[in-house]
Subunit: 415 residues, 2 copies
Amino acid sequence: MKSFVEYSSDSDFSIYNIPFGVAVFNKEYIGCCTRIGDQIIDLATLYDFGYFEEIEGLIDNVFEAYTLNEFIELGKPVTNAVRLKIQELLQEDSILSKDEKTIEEAFYDLDKVKMMMPVHIPNYTDFYSSIEHATNVGKMFRDPDNALLPNWKHLPVGYHGRASSIVVSGTEINRPKGQMKPGDVEKPVFGPCKQLDFELEMAFIINKNTEMGESISTKEAEDAIFGMVIFNDWSARDIQSWEYVPLGPFLAKNFGSSVSPWVVTLEALEPFRTSSPTQDPEVLDYLKFEGDKNYDINLEVYIQPENGDQNLISESNYKHMYWNMTQQLAHHTVNGCNVEVGDMYASGTISGSDPKSFGSMLELTWRGQNPITLSNGEERKFINDNDTVTMKAWAKKDGIRVGFGEVSGKIIPAK
Amino acid sequence: MKSFVEYSSDSDFSIYNIPFGVAVFNKEYIGCCTRIGDQIIDLATLYDFGYFEEIEGLIDNVFEAYTLNEFIELGKPVTNAVRLKIQELLQEDSILSKDEKTIEEAFYDLDKVKMMMPVHIPNYTDFYSSIEHATNVGKMFRDPDNALLPNWKHLPVGYHGRASSIVVSGTEINRPKGQMKPGDVEKPVFGPCKQLDFELEMAFIINKNTEMGESISTKEAEDAIFGMVIFNDWSARDIQSWEYVPLGPFLAKNFGSSVSPWVVTLEALEPFRTSSPTQDPEVLDYLKFEGDKNYDINLEVYIQPENGDQNLISESNYKHMYWNMTQQLAHHTVNGCNVEVGDMYASGTISGSDPKSFGSMLELTWRGQNPITLSNGEERKFINDNDTVTMKAWAKKDGIRVGFGEVSGKIIPAK
């Protein structure tokens, strides 16, 4: 496929992508959009000019919204039809390519828009599905010889996180204050956290509401997943290690999480399907699945200090995930827990087996023992004030590139 | 004070209460309401008849809503003024008492309304703030000699729960299915949970939105708390004990939680303020507070089997709480976690020191070792299918009674 919109061959936003997001256009109004190359396309205007007329089930004003939730809720028959129609319209010699008026009104240069949170998130869950990450953490904090807890290979361990503090890429994050108990003091102390970390994750977004008591099987799961984003699960390690027993992470996580603004659909990721690591022991029936349920998505993490360049510090891949999305969703709902449109389900930190692929400072520096040296000569055990952490994600195969862009967040001093 | 509406002296809904809720009236329309005795009062109709005219800051149509969120968000200057105005209007010889037309249109008999969820809950957190409960659990599952974990007396331990599955009293709950690993098997098994439990809790509801990075101090906390409800945190103990390490409870809790429909304001609870248990060791500065921050609220739990009577099985009191609401909220936000209008923060199971005051079957039967005998001769270690669990809460002092009514839920077989 070739588009009439020109873009670089290494653009994440090729004609094979067609992601969805929400933007403020020209500082004026907010609406749903897609992107090709560095052009942002206002979908409400495309709608108004009649380009989606033949799509059954699409409703008026669904793109004139502050979130994608209403659109997503229409379900895959509609959202897929819209995506394919946009893809058709963006090809060279399409009707749209000759419609200068619509192009003038609906297309915006990247620097004329500000991206917003793509969805309202009613509920957020974080899984813990990378075996390398869980093993690394277990080695550091528990028993190097029995790093994985007994339940880990039998179910995708997860916990509920805080939805209110999930923000879009570009939002600054205050260093959290809290209680910590360093090993060398008798009583806990209070202050700005000293071990601020990122977690390299991806998250998927749900397109339906279920009733309490209903479950979604591994077979049904993909129909319920609209798409994915990059997810940075900021973590305060010193607060976490003091607070987390016995009920799990709380203030160490809920001060902020950052997501990329573009939701890439599962359909756009289809060419990048791949197999998962072998699950041994065999899982219970409700967690069994057929076919390739993982995706080969390259992941990168960069740290940029206040007065320095971006430093690539981790290269990982989503395909390392031991538990896949269909298993996560089947497990989450097997007890009858109801899901809601816009729910976000994050993977947990995605580490590979190579130390350069670890997805957190905790693992990269092995709890601060092996600091990272940045290009400006500074060392990092964890994240400093005014550091910007950027994560990128993209898939590439047979000349086709589909990417997520980036999620970026700067840590500013504690209030 | 005496009302022109007659009610029994043991009614929870005396003229001193004036709680807020949301009802379906005559199966026709939904709106915000209050209650006195067994009369439900449609607040939109009172508004339409001009009874709230002098209240500054009250906005049109705020009572014609499916939730109390918009009303609550107006803040205490407005919500307190509305409550006091209703209290004035309900007194004998008030203008309203002589306004037959308004009474006919705005007052409904209890059996003509169906109560709904009072608020939309953007975020839900469950604390673990009863020292007796935490000690009991620690004795059973960990070390009887070191039942409390080291952090417990230094911070109000809490975790994020699932907001989507919080339902109003009267909603039936399916027994959850899930993975369990009984001690006598080598591999986990799947099926309906066999150790279904309740947890006797109360929860408070927030009336403001804060920005990320902001905190609410113990001093500011009461202004941010609109009111309270009874909260039943249904728990699947066998699922919980297998899944909860290291990230906390998940599917053992998120299949359903039940709340009472009436939000009782902090102002209505004012006469029942009481001191808290002494906190030793001394807490960090941000957790210190002045004055009585606890409330003397009687709590009861009943089990009713399918073909039998209600059995009173626990009598507890909210005043047992080691950590109070102002500390819970100050802790939750000290890291900059933002709160939202309608957020629900539950206390954790409220047990006293007397075994008859334990707030869960887990504790009452000591993990099933000492079953409870019901009046029909049946025994219960945990909750059976078709059992109804009802919790009641009320405060009483100097002839004044203010109560919550009840939260009731029936367990139906797994789907």
